[in-house]
Symmetry: C2
Subunit: 218 residues, 2 copies
Amino acid sequence: MRNNNQVSVPVIKRLPRYHRYLEELKNMGVVRISSKELSMRMGLTASQIRQDLNCFGGFGQQGYGYNIEQLYNEIGAILGIDKRSKAIMIGAGNLGHAIATHLHFENRGFDLIGIFDNNPNVVGTDIGGRIVMNSSELDEFCKKEKPVVAILCIPSEYAEENADKLISLGIKGFWNFTQYDLIRKYKDIAVENVHLGDSLMTLCYQINTFSDNGEEIK
Amino acid sequence: MRNNNQVSVPVIKRLPRYHRYLEELKNMGVVRISSKELSMRMGLTASQIRQDLNCFGGFGQQGYGYNIEQLYNEIGAILGIDKRSKAIMIGAGNLGHAIATHLHFENRGFDLIGIFDNNPNVVGTDIGGRIVMNSSELDEFCKKEKPVVAILCIPSEYAEENADKLISLGIKGFWNFTQYDLIRKYKDIAVENVHLGDSLMTLCYQINTFSDNGEEIK
């Protein structure tokens, strides 16, 4: 039914959000939902939702709405969540620790199979049931376990050298929490940036614009 | 010189990124840069950069490039970084702890003036020099200190009740780390979401699309 090649990037970008709302509805025990009800919850128009979901072959039946569990599973499959790619984390400081314990990786498409740090005070500690390994073990670990994604929770100044090394060890994608823009050097890898500082400054702009002009910037 | 009212949202969204690159260049001791050099660093076209910066009255001189410190300061002023809005954090678990210690709030437009939690094991602990207060002190603190932004690092199921209360206490904007979409209920507040789960699933899609088709989705 689905034909991912024709799906536009804005639609792809909205899929995790659909997945999140559908998960919430599923957990509430809701079985079916109309595009109108879903649109009110999500702040999109009903026709936008129908268009988006039609890209994947259409799951709704006119007058019956969407079967939530079916749609949830199908969107999960499109995102590739069931494939459970192997991920490693580089850097187990405060931020790495929080990310490793806060996220349900297995529900978001990944198995976090290793955490590495070079700080002797951190190596050997337990983070959510995973023992932090020494960065010196990284080469051997990657050759054996073949992780495809690295989560970078290290200071920005170490991002480039770590990325070079990780790519040579077979890493195909980064979840990047550093300020370093990986994409400016590597063209053929997947990168998802979480630039927290940029996000905070965007909020700063919004707050100041609200209070200056009393109008919203969206 | 500047006229923020005519500036489009995509330009606004790029400003933190300009600020970040200019900060990096400034710290490297670079004094001037041409739009061509800046474009190569940032992965934008030189004409895009010239267009963006012209929105604010234009800082460059033909043939001389941009004065980095001047441009950095001006973009910071547009974002309102120098105004240093008062922010509080709700939730001092692993994630809150990491955010509070990881970010330089004062360089991003905010003073983090209070951290609150209702867990007795956390209340009274020191996070980066700030003592975590009991959530029961929140009302009095807000009346006295008048913070305008709240950073939500609490479980999603508590987001709505906390947001209601915080808005009644004068909060005008949220840095939202919960999965709850605040914007669906409150229309006249500033919200910047950091949906980590959505980001992780977007990476999941990219990784699986790369490996299936060998081509990039951007």
